[in-house]
Symmetry: C2
Subunit: 364 residues, 2 copies
């Protein structure tokens, strides 16, 4: 077995999920990821845990959803609920071979099934959970990379000294957490300000998502002012929306455009009250993620980028005196900060052209 697979199993079992003797561990994976499942199963065994592994098939999910009517899909999955409720920890591994496998399931059916299984999702989130990526052919193709190059990319992004990463990122958290105002400028297309006063900055390293590598917070909902051009493609319902440009006033999107699939953007912004306001501001710091791969699990942690999400804010980032964006939408969009760009906290430049003020090569 590729030694990078065992190395990643250690990250998942020891760093992220912190498996100990007596733990009951669900491993949910796409079946292409069998090698990583084997490595995780072995380590859980060594730590004294019991496994229940369950390789999934997106083809089977599609077949069931297409065949079932909405009334059927509106039933809760009692089996999945019982399994997650009995689990101390859950390791989820993505790795579809064809990312369009469920693309012909009517969105209404997906929506019904998703709503019916909210309790399953909550039971999952109540466990110690971690989500990671298997470098499957499908994801490699989506990233426009050979499978071997994509494997290299994935393992570099997820197999790290996460304690060192956390320490490095803590320097930014210390600046962002007490700050009141953030300003983001890139070229002459992006200049946006927002208050983060009273909200919390979080350090994402070896936690629930692999790869980690971002510092994130919530903007104060009504405080966002200015305009942003998102350089990287946004995927809405699996379709590419290009050159998204948003203009904010009093926190709300008052103008929007895109050069491709603008109608999808429009409909997303109109979903509910929160979907035309920001819920998250994140700063990507994982420099092993040096390219956009059409996979938000990686893209939002890309070094030298920031991302803003319209829609729902994360509970842990919202201060108790501030309002939380409660939208059902959460759509991340990315701005390239590597050139002709700066991030300011309370008027002070903390990053210029991708380099942070606390880094040696910084040229304030």
């Amino acid at each position: 077995m590729d030694p990078r697979i065992r190395e990643h199993a250690e990250v998942l079992v020891d760093d992220c999920a912190e498996i100990a003797a007596g733990d009951q561990v669900v491993i949910v994976a796409h079946h292409t990821a069998e090698d990583l499942v084997v490595a995780v199963a072995e380590l859980v065994g060594e730590r004294g845990g019991i496994i229940h592994h369950s390789l999934g098939s997106s083809r089977a999910r599609r077949a069931h959803k297409l065949a079932a009517d909405e009334e059927t899909l509106d039933q809760q999955n009692e089996i999945a609920l019982a399994a997650y409720e009995a689990a101390d920890a859950v390791v989820q591994i993505r790795g579809e071979q064809n990312l369009n496998e469920t693309g012909d399931v009517p969105p209404e059916k997906n929506a019904v099934a998703k709503r019916a299984n909210m309790a399953v999702q909550e039971a999952l989130l109540d466990s110690r959970w971690v989500l990671t990526q298997w470098p499957s052919t499908g994801y490699a193709q989506k990233a426009e990379m050979s499978t071997e190059a994509y494997e290299e990319f994935v393992w570099n992004a997820v197999n790290k000294d996460w304690d060192a990463v956390r320490e490095h990122q803590a320097q930014l958290v210390e600046l962002l957490d007490p700050a009141d105002e953030v300003r983001i400028v890139s070229g002459d297309t992006t200049d946006v300000r927002m208050s983060v006063a009273g909200n919390h900055a979080k350090n994402d390293a070896d936690d629930n998502n692999m790869p980690g590598g971002e510092v994130f917070t919530a903007p104060v909902v009504d405080s966002v002012e200015g305009e942003v051009l998102f350089d990287k493609p946004v995927l809405i319902q699996g379709r590419e929306v290009l050159d998204v440009r948003l203009v904010f006033e009093d926190g709300e999107v008052v103008e929007h455009e895109a050069t491709k699939n603008e109608d999808l953007l429009t409909s997303l912004l109109e979903t509910d009250e929160g979907s035309s306001r920001l819920g998250e501001l994140g700063i990507g710091m994982n420099r092993d993620i040096d390219r956009f791969t059409y996979n938000m699990l990686f893209d939002e942690k890309m070094g030298d980028t920031v991302h803003m999400a319209i829609g729902r804010g994360y509970e842990e980032t919202v201060g108790e005196d501030n309002e939380r964006n409660e939208s059902t939408v959460h759509e991340d969009m990315i701005v390239d900060m590597s050139e002709d760009s700066r991030i300011e906290f309370d008027g002070e430049v903390v990053q210029r052209d991708g380099t942070f003020g606390f880094e040696e090569s910084f040229d304030g």
Copy 2:
């Protein structure tokens, strides 16, 4: 998809597990069987059921068992237990690629894990369950067949008009159920008599095992007299035991021999009190199973054979006034009845050279 796969999904979902609206259905399969999982998922959806599918990996099971110590394996799998308890029906699909995958797990560990999961097994048996076979490369190799020929063999054996099969077999049940004594004679090596008085004859068609195709009962434990040469290989702990010959007195094996691996047979017979006595007599009636494939799920239903199992008897076959063989062992062994052979019930020939008395070509 091969139409025989969809045909078999119908047998599983409609004939065996009788899935109806509202059913919560676990599909447990080896991951090579993805196509059949897809077909079952689709049909369950059409019938109004919810699926939880879970493709397994024998490599992952092996890795966990090898790494875990016995104390760890002695813990119950709470997740599997919760899942099966929440299930109305369970569809199990075998299809390992390498039947020796778990061959290097110490038997003590397997024994501990098996004992720890008795409750899981009981929860499974409490559901409407069915076990079937995917024609994997591993099973094809074990059967000494090409994969394509093995596929043909498997689909022929499992895709049938099971109502017609049940009706055909009922003719034998009607003779066996009221009978008191069974005598089995084959060549000059097998001549054995046993009482079945008070015990029940069962008709196995589209029930819990696919393929079905046998009529079976329990011998009265202390009544077996005579000798049997089992023509087909017996697999004990995955190893081949050849030309097993047993001599019975008052139901007990008083002499035994084998031309290969006799020591395994000896140790099996010495396991407990019941392991040197019979627990089952079965008559194979599925003539599409026309060869021995080293897979008891098929072999015991082979046309023109009988099988006897040393060890545990099935509860539903033992009359209330009779003793049940309570051994932990249940090992089926097969006698070829196609030539120079006969089965008698109460002195009357009911089968000669593989042909039953109720069949046209019978020559009593």
